[in-house]
Symmetry: C2
Subunit: 103 residues, 2 copies
DNA sequence: ATCGTACTACGAAGATCATCGAACTTCGAC
DNA sequence: GTCGAAGTTCGATGATCTTCGTAGTACGAT
């Protein structure tokens, strides 16, 4: 089992500037949309993206370090979950607003 | 008088990706906060920023072209206004959420 | 008409960022 | 233990972006 949570900022450490910068990138926005559609969590590799695995890892790290998502290990896989509660508490309406965009 | 509105995207031309990218920059976020505090509009030069006038103009252009703010001339001055209605209609809660950040 | 103010446009320089391939780690399966 | 699968880390590269100074435009005032 040995599920481990990767390092991420506490709620009060999250900065709006980093969150917005993280979200303002097409690939990362795609990731966030995929996570929002699967509240139970998504395996990184399952999200279809027009980039290689290493670039994908890079984007996931940015999102995690910004506090947008949380990642925990599950065997060789890594499950990512949108930190919706934290973001909603800090910036009420922000995530909902972004997701309501007509793509 | 000859008040003229500078070119800006229509509401339906605004893309969430451009908006987030525009907001994900410290100087521009400062500008947006200043505009939000003055719904009547703010003269560009009145906002205190740690950059020169040309850089300021650059950031204002980015924000305007993303659809975040609207600028119209008033003599030699340019008044900028946050496009709150449009943004609220497109991404309800987004601006409010961002502004509710504890800085 | 001349001047000063407010701002923009145009490169250029430096920093940051997205992207990739290759090498490495970790875990489960056989 | 060996293999493969999933994912990360590490440079390197090319693109994008922030920043600046300079030059230029537009307008009001004198």
């Amino acid at each position: 089992m040995a599920t481990k949570v990767l390092p991420q900022p506490e709620r009060e450490e999250i900065r709006v500037e980093s969150v917005l910068q993280a979200l303002g990138e097409p690939v990362r926005l795609t990731i966030v949309r995929a996570l929002a559609a699967n509240p139970a969590g998504v395996c990184c590799g399952e999200i279809e993206l027009p980039v290689t695995a290493s670039t994908r890892a890079h984007h996931l790290r940015i999102l995690r370090e910004a506090g947008v998502l949380s990642t925990h290990t599950d065997g060789t896989k890594r499950i990512s979950i949108l930190r919706r509660e934290d973001l909603e508490a800090l910036y009420p309406g922000l995530i909902t607003g972004i997701l309501s965009a007509k793509q």
